[in-house]
C-alpha cells in the first residue's frame, strides 16, 4: 500500500481518489461482501449457528424479576451522543427492552445525557409500546434528560438508584469514568445488573460490579441477537468470517516479521493507516 501511496503523491498532481487509502477500501469491500453474502444466505433460509450470549439471555429474566418485585427497570444507553455507534447500539437494545417492559407492564426509566439521544430514545420506546399493544401505557417522561455534565449525570442516576431501588439496571453504550460510580451504586442498591460497552478500559469495572457484561462486539450483536431475525444474524456471521481472516493475517504477519527481513516490513506496510 505504501507503493500505491508513493505512486499517488510522487506525481504531485491532483488526484480525486486517495491512493494511500486503498488498503482501507479493500478491507471495506471485503467486509461488506462477507456481510452481504451471509445476509443473503440467511434470507434463503440457511441455518446459522450463533453462540449463546448469557447477558442477553438474562435480559428477559431480569425484567421479569423487576415485574415480580414491582420495581422499575433502569436503562442507560451510555453517556455519549447519537453520532457514536455505541449509543445507536444502546438505543437499538432499548427498543427490545421496552417491548418486554411494555408486555409485563413494568415501569421503565431511561435517563439520557444528550437531547438528540432523548428524542431518539422517546421515539424508540413509544414505538416499542405501540408494537406491544400497550401504546396507552407509554409516558414521554420514561426517557428523560437529566444532565449534560458527566458527573452531574452520574450523581442524578445514583440518587435515583438509592431512592427508587430499581430491580434491574441495564447499561448499554459508551461509558467513561462514571461506569464504576453507576455500577457500584447499583450493586449497593441490590439491583441485578447487565452491562455492555465497546470500551476496553471500562470493561473491568463492569465485570467487577455487574452480574453480566457484554464485551465489545457483543454489544453490537445484541440487537440482531435479540431480534431472532435471520437476516440480521447473517451480518454477524459475516463479521465472524472477517475475524477469522484477521487472525490468519496476524499469524502470517508474526511469522513473516519474525523469520524474514524483507517480506516482513512489506507485509506490515500494507496495513498502515493513513
Amino acid at each position: 500500500m505504501t507503493l500505491f501511496a508513493e505512486a499517488a503523491f510522487s506525481q504531485e498532481e491532483f488526484s480525486v481518489f486517495r491512493g494511500d487509502r486503498i488498503n482501507a477500501l479493500i478491507a471495506v469491500v471485503a467486509f461488506s461482501a462477507a456481510v452481504l453474502i451471509f445476509t443473503n444466505w440467511a434470507k434463503r433460509g440457511k441455518p446459522l449457528y450463533l453462540r449463546k450470549i448469557a447477558g442477553l439471555d438474562a435480559v428477559e429474566e431480569a425484567v421479569g424479576r423487576a415485574t415480580e418485585m414491582g420495581r422499575p427497570v433502569l436503562f442507560i444507553p451510555g453517556i455519549d451522543d447519537l453520532d457514536q455507534i455505541e449509543t445507536i447500539a444502546g438505543i437499538s437494545i432499548l427498543g427490545r427492552v421496552a417491548q418486554i417492559t411494555a408486555q409485563y407492564e413494568t415501569p421503565l426509566m431511561v435517563p439520557v445525557r444528550y437531547p438528540l439521544v432523548l428524542a431518539a430514545g422517546q421515539e424508540v420506546v413509544q414505538q416499542a409500546y405501540i408494537h406491544a399493544g400497550k401504546g396507552d401505557a407509554y409516558e414521554k417522561d420514561m426517557v428523560r434528560y437529566v444532565a449534560g455534565e458527566q458527573f452531574a449525570f452520574a450523581a442524578t442516576v445514583n440518587g435515583y438508584m438509592m431512592r427508587e431501588h430499581p430491580a434491574t439496571n441495564i447499561y448499554m453504550g459508551a461509558f467513561f469514568a462514571e461506569s464504576l460510580l453507576l455500577a457500584e451504586t447499583g450493586n449497593a442498591a441490590g439491583s441485578i445488573q447487565i452491562a455492555g460497552t465497546g470500551r476496553p478500559e471500562q470493561l473491568p469495572f463492569f465485570v467487577a460490579a455487574c452480574d453480566y457484561t457484554l464485551m465489545g462486539e457483543e454489544l453490537f450483536a445484541a440487537s440482531a441477537y435479540l431480534s431472532h431475525e435471520p437476516v440480521m444474524m447473517g451480518g454477524l456471521k459475516g463479521q465472524d468470517l472477517m475475524k477469522v481472516l484477521i487472525v490468519i493475517l496476524i499469524l502470517a504477519g508474526v511469522i513473516l516479521v519474525t523469520f524474514t527481513t524483507k517480506l516482513g516490513p512489506i507485509f506490515k506496510s500494507w496495513f498502515q493507516a493513513v
Binding site: 445507536i88 427498543g95 438528540l116 434528560y145 458527566q150 440487537s223 451480518g235 459475516g238
Partner: protein, 220 residues
C-alpha cells in the same frame, strides 16, 4: 413513509461519509461534504438542546407539584437550571455580570460550585474502586487468585515506593511487569476486544446504511 424516508436518509448520509473518506479533500463539492454533514449534526444538536431543557424542567416541576419523594431536590434543580442559564444568555452590554466571560455570574457559579462538585464526584471514584476491587479480587478460584496476584503486583509497581522496593530485588521486576504483564497479556487482550468491537461497529453501521437494521427507529 415513516420508515422509508429515514432509511433513505441513513443510506445517503452513510454512503456519502464512506465515499468521501476515499476522496481527496480538495475535490470540488464532494471533498468537504463529510465535514459539512458533521457541521449539520452540530447545528441540529444545538436546536435539540431546548428539548433537554424542557424535559428536565417538566419532569422536575411535575415532581414538585405532586409532592413526590425528594421533591425539594427538584426545586434545587429548577433553580440551578434557571440561575445558570438566564444570566449567561443575557447580553454582556447590559452588565459585565451577564454572559459567560470571566467575572460573570455564570463563570462564578461554574468555578465555585459546579467544578468543585464535579471534582468531588470524580474523587469518590477512589472509594468505589476499593469496594469493587475487594469483590473482584477475592481468591475464590485459581483464576481469581491469579488475578489477585497480578493486580497486587501491578498496583505495587505503579506507586513510587512499590517500584523502589521492587528495584531492590535482583532481576529487574518492574521491567518484567511492564513487558510481559502490561505490554504483553494485557495489551493483547485489549487489542482483541478492540478488533472485535471495531468489526461489530462496522457491521452494525453497514446494517443501518443498507436498511437491514431499523431497531434504532423503534422498528424491528
Amino acid at each position: 413513509m415513516r420508515t422509508t424516508a429515514p432509511v433513505i436518509i441513513a443510506f445517503l448520509t452513510g454512503a456519502t461519509l464512506v465515499v468521501t473518506f476515499f476522496l481527496n479533500e480538495k475535490t470540488p463539492f464532494v471533498g468537504q461534504l463529510s465535514n459539512q454533514l458533521l457541521d449539520w449534526l452540530i447545528i441540529i444538536g444545538g436546536f435539540t438542546l431546548l428539548l433537554g431543557v424542557v424535559s428536565i424542567l417538566r419532569v422536575s416541576w411535575q415532581t414538585v407539584q405532586r409532592r413526590k419523594e425528594g421533591w425539594f431536590y427538584k426545586i434545587a434543580t429548577i433553580v440551578s437550571v434557571l440561575i445558570m442559564a438566564i444570566p449567561s444568555l443575557l447580553p454582556v452590554s447590559w452588565s459585565p455580570l451577564f454572559g459567560r466571560f470571566e467575572g460573570s455570574i455564570y463563570d462564578w457559579l461554574f468555578m465555585n460550585l459546579q467544578a468543585p462538585m464535579m471534582a468531588t464526584m470524580f474523587a469518590t471514584l477512589a472509594f468505589y474502586i476499593a469496594s469493587a476491587a475487594y469483590r473482584a479480587f477475592r481468591a475464590r478460584t485459581p483464576e481469581a487468585t491469579l488475578l489477585l496476584l497480578t493486580a497486587t503486583l501491578v498496583m505495587f509497581w505503579r506507586v513510587p515506593i512499590g517500584e523502589a522496593i521492587l528495584n531492590l530485588i535482583p532481576g529487574d521486576v518492574p521491567f518484567f511487569i511492564n513487558k510481559f504483564v502490561m505490554n504483553g497479556a494485557n495489551l493483547a487482550v485489549q487489542r482483541g476486544i478492540i478488533i472485535g468491537a471495531a468489526l461489530g461497529a462496522a457491521a452494525m453501521s453497514l446494517r443501518i446504511i443498507l436498511g437491514i437494521e431499523r431497531t434504532y427507529m423503534g422498528r424491528g
